[in-house]
């Protein structure tokens, strides 16, 4: 892949952003992501009310000019809570993907580079770990660590490690057999140097693609755990937790459920749109396809 990338004409790299934004879906996705990041950063200035102040309005009051998204059971402004919720979604998603990426990637490289028995045993264990349906593994980890926002993020992150390890291992195996690694070894480069200077730069595009493609489902996954009551706990204004709280009285106040869910959906959709576009640009096989 490195040879191909090096041979490619320079303009490709120069116009990366414009290429990324070359599809309407990706533009829309970028706009939403930037908006969500903005909401997260400036929540105290943008939210009309305190996210946790009760009795701001009548309990379960419907949407109005004062309370755009209505009020929840404790008389809290849903609009303000949805804005503060932006602080959790992407941050949680990025944290979990970072955990999966760093540990899974490291494991994959070490196993493949180690080769021989290390690789055989490592691959066997990774395959076995992939036999846990991700949600079951995540719930098992939450059961051990205890319920909570941080633990849910850890659980989702850890449950992604085998998947990242497998992909990294496969990619590293093809690289290790290549001439430039052999050449580096022949010139007396140490293991650390080969891994950092020769393998990692070549793995980066693949790792970036899987990480981006995974981000959307990571955001969704952590919100799901919160919805199940295993992640963020009330009164945290996390979107999944808000949906869980709104579940009991959705009949009388559907707005308590519609807006946090809509925010979550738009965020995940946008991340997926941008991720798809990014993988199309970075992965040559995808590029030929559409």
């Amino acid at each position: 892949m490195s040879d191909a990338a090096a041979a490619a004409p320079m303009p490709r790299r120069v116009s990366f952003v414009s290429r990324l934004l070359g599809a309407p879906g990706a533009v829309l996705g970028t706009v939403v992501i930037v908006t969500v990041l903005g909401l997260a950063a400036f929540a105290p200035y943008l939210a009309p009310y305190d996210w946790n102040a009760t009795s701001q309005c009548r309990r379960l009051a419907p949407m109005s000019a004062e309370n755009w998204f209505g009020c929840d059971l404790f008389g809290r402004d849903v609009f303000s809570r949805v804005i503060y919720g932006a602080r959790f979604s992407l941050a949680m998603g990025l944290t979990t993907v970072a955990i999966s990426l760093v540990f899974g990637g490291l494991l994959g490289i070490v196993i493949a580079y180690g080769g021989g028995r290390v690789d055989r045993i490592g691959a066997r264990v990774i395959d076995a770990m992939l036999c846990f349906p991700p949600i079951i593994l995540a719930i098992l980890i939450v059961a051990v660590l205890g319920v909570g926002l941080v633990n849910a993020a850890l659980a989702v992150g850890i449950s992604g490690i085998p998947r990242f390890a497998r992909i990294t291992r496969a990619a590293t195996l093809t690289l290790v057999a290549r001439d430039f690694v052999e050449a580096a070894r022949a010139t007396g480069a140490g293991h650390v140097r080969i891994v950092l200077r020769h393998l990692l730069p070549n793995l980066a595009p693949i790792l970036i693609v899987i990480a981006t493609l995974d981000l959307g489902s990571a955001v969704l996954f952590t919100a799901t755990l919160s919805f199940l009551g295993l992640g963020a706990q009330p009164p945290t204004p996390e979107w999944g937790a808000m949906l869980n709280a709104g579940r009991e009285y959705v009949r009388y106040a559907p707005w308590t459920m519609i807006f946090p869910g809509l925010a979550l959906f738009l965020t995940v959709m946008s991340v997926n749109l941008v991720g798809d576009r990014l993988s199309m640009i970075l992965d040559p096989r995808q590029r030929d396809r559409s």
Binding site: A128, C131, F132, P133, P134, V250, M257, F265, M269, R289
Partner: protein, 306 residues
């Protein structure tokens, strides 16, 4: 696939499950606190009763003995008693399992029909507006929080329109939950099917079929579909993981009894034998299904050997 190869595949389940269950055993030992205290939840108890409880749980034995007996019990499906209801975990799971199976099958059918249809329609004429529309729909399916769409459907179709009951054990109470589970499945399946159809449509035998003057519908239905279905169908085993995930969430949304609801409840109540039992059982089912699909695939497609 020879009988020998099939036997080999079946036997490969054993080391895999051994690793998986070792992880479960290790995880359960990492739970902070004394298991007896967790079981009693702070109820005061005499020293002798404590010893008796310890012996009953088997936690007074050396760790290696505990490990061997855990694996042996897991293999025969014995997970002890629930800390809360004091019923055998196996009985609890057996009571809920048919409900979850029903939901998973319903979701599977919805996902399969919707996913394959979208994928084929999109893949036959790639990059047109129909393709864009179908793939956008698939992406929406992948991005929708299933608990959210489930709640909206309950509101609209059950509460407002009254078309289907919210609760109940009849088949009509299964419609909305099945759609909820199926939507997510459909998104991924549609994308796979589309790519597979595009690959197949470029093959020589499709050109030959077209050259013979067959209509597009006939070419797709008789020649392309059969070959294009192989990659998406091999991934059905992996889809089972999504089905389990979908079932866990959907059961909570629809307040349906089932394995998922039991599991979430058990985690919240720190009922570790139940958590352990469900994890061991789902991984066993998952591994077995994948091996069976693997074998079936080998029998159907002679190009795949060993």
């Amino acid at each position: 696939m020879s009988a020998r190869a099939i036997l080999g595949r079946l036997l490969s389940v054993i080391p895999t499950l051994l690793i998986v269950w070792t992880v479960v055993f290790g995880a359960m030992r990492l739970v902070p606190g004394d298991p007896v205290m967790l079981m009693l939840q702070g109820t005061p108890i005499s020293e002798s009763a404590m010893e008796a409880a310890r012996a009953k749980l088997g936690v007074d034995r050396p760790i290696i003995v505990q490990y061997v007996s855990f694996i042996a019990n897991a293999a025969v499906g014995d997970f002890g008693e629930s800390f809360r209801s004091r019923q055998p975990v196996t009985r609890l799971i057996a009571a809920e399992f048919p409900k979850t199976l029903e939901l998973a099958l319903g979701g599977f059918v919805v996902g399969l029909v919707l996913g394959l249809t979208l994928g084929v329609i999109a893949g036959v004429r790639p990059n047109g507006w129909v393709d864009t529309l179908c793939m956008t729909a698939a992406l929406v399916g992948l991005s929708l929080p299933s608990f959210w769409i489930g709640m909206i459907m309950i509101q609209v179709f059950a509460t407002q329109l009254g078309w289907v009951p919210v609760l109940g054990s009849g088949w009509d109470a299964l419609i909305l939950p099945s759609i909820t589970v199926g939507l997510f499945l459909a998104g991924g399946l549609a994308r796979l099917t589309r790519n597979s159809i595009i690959d197949v449509m470029g093959q020589d035998y499709i050109r030959t079929a077209r050259a013979k003057g067959l209509s597009t519908v006939r070419v797709v239905a008789k020649h392309a579909m059969r070959n294009a279905m192989i990659p998406p169908l091999t991934l059905l085993g992996i889809q089972f993981a999504l089905l389990i995930g979908g079932a866990v969430v959907t059961e909570t949304v629809f307040a349906r009894p089932g394995i998922g609801k039991l599991l979430v409840q058990a985690v919240l109540e720190k009922d570790f034998p139940v958590v352990q039992g469900i994890v061991v059982m789902t991984t066993a089912v998952y591994v077995l299904i994948n091996v069976l699909i693997d074998i079936a695939y080998g029998i159907i497609d002679p190009r795949v050997q060993e």
